[in-house]
Amino acid sequence: MTTPPSEASDNAGAIPPLLEVSHLVMDFGGLRALDGASLSVEQGTITGLIGPNGAGKTTLFNVVAGYYEPRAGRVYLNGNDITGLPPHRIFARGLCRTFQIPREHASMSVLENLMLVPRGQAGERFFTSLLRPGRVGAQEAALRQHAEEVLAFLDLSHLANEYARNLSGGQKKLLELARTLMADPKLVLLDEPGAGVNPTLMGRLKENIARLNRERGITFLIIEHDMDLVMSLCNPVIVMSEGRYLMEGPPEAVRHDPQVLEAYLGGQYAAAEG
């Protein structure tokens, strides 16, 4: 019933996909969360990932980002196999993810939440921090400037010195996005960026994602249940169901596809809608 996305070899000469996931299998006890999921994300796109609850979308993110090691299958980033690498190594290759429920570092300021992110910080080594304060200080000044720019970009500057735990749900979502910006990523996986965000903030979030994609060429893969956001932002949209790839296509096509309706609503309703 499913057609896996075309392999790179099929359309020789084209740019290989930025992210390619092939036949991932992931079990939690008796539950098979991913059952041979395969999909690919092309460079420069904002790709949507939708599917009913339990389709395995977040599990797929967790496997891709290195949080879980899959039982079978491979993950390729830019053509390189990253399956089973620890999260920090995958991060170093330019992949960044956010969480469905924001996971901010609650006891630190928003500013330091962001300054934490960039890699290659000399001061993260014990002895460098101890013995080379000049070097660490210079790097910290640069990091702070970068963080302040990102905060300004997302219109969060007024919160720089606030405890991250004091932010509203929507602001935390923006903080998650800001964190990814600090990483200078190639690919960002956003897990429900719109959930629990008020319409105004949602508009800004959407605008920011589109702008980052346009201006900085960052590729996004977005899990989202809010169809408005998906329809207006994402192209293509990939649909997952029961741990597998179901189909993909432009948002309008996906919206009216009987297979998708069936996956979401069950067979009898799909027939009625159609």
Partner: protein
Amino acid sequence: MSQVIFLKGLMLGVALAFILPILLPPGRRWRVPGGIVLGLGLGLGIAALVPSGYLSYFIGFMTMASIYAILSLGLNTQWGYTGHLNFGVAGFFAVGAFTSALFTIEAPTGLAAQYTQVLFGLKMPFVVGVMAAAVVSGAVAFLVAVPVLRLRLDFLAIATIGVAEIIRLIFQNERWLANGPQPLRGIPQPGRCLFETRHCEWVPDSLAWIIEPLSTRDYTAFYLMIVAGCLALVYVVLERACRSPWGRMLRAVRDEETSAAMSGKNVPFARVQAFVVGAVIMGIAGALYAHYTVAIDYSHFHALFATFLVWIMLMLGGSGNHRGAIVGAILVWGVWAGTAFLANALEPLLAAIHQDLPGRAQYIRWLLVSLLLAAVVLFRPKGLLPEEMRVSRYVPDPKRR
């Protein structure tokens, strides 16, 4: 002021000059010079005004408080910054103490060897002993960390308390290692030779006249200077290392491990580093303790004294705050030492109630310290000096804009 009192006051003053700048509020320019002047003045003042018996008591009190403060700083790196619920402080304290002892004592020969068995006695200088204590304690921590740090919170607490008990029982039962259940005696004290024979290898004889008027029992003030100096050094090292991206990484791991991993931090490595650094500091505290008490045995390293008292200190002072860790250590040690007098004073009263009670009066101390812990957790859960929002000292302080 007699020469003796002046010299004792000077030594006490130097020790206080190491400690007071730490306790004064940070971020002010007069902090260090002010603390030094205040410390010297206070030392001389106390020596001049306080009878010599009380003065020795105060010196002993400050020595133990400083050693506990170092332990508390070590725990602060593990718990305050990284969230390791380490209930095995006593283990690393013991490793440090015995290591430094073995490195500095002279291996017994002849008849003495029948009574004192040691794995080795290297007769190295004090400084080497302390460094060896730091290294060995760190190495033990690393070996322990690899399996144990897979655990979190209460599971980690149980595992570490087990490790500490294993270490203590090894020192209790393995006679060949460090004289088994018998105390390991004769741990040399740095600079004591100067007070006993007026001659030390590393001090030119031309300088020995300075301490000429002092007698052997005044040595404690000299040792306090060393301990206080170590405390100041550990504080400066931690303040630099932790109030930096390194400390920020640790705190990020503590707050939200998954998120730290997704921000590209090597979480397992960060956790091991913090554990080892904390254990190194605890090892140093152990070494300072061994050279202070001269004779050590396994019973000194019970969890009550060497783990839970340290925890109360850190909780009271403020986890995540180096100054808090030190303030807490001094206050709790004050309560602990103070309650000894209270327990003695209560003995007649207890005797009136039941003849068995006076013998148990000392347990009142634990009762009071436990009440203190309960009060801290209920009324001041973040401690007297709570953790600051700012981690890296290179970031401007949000409170002072």
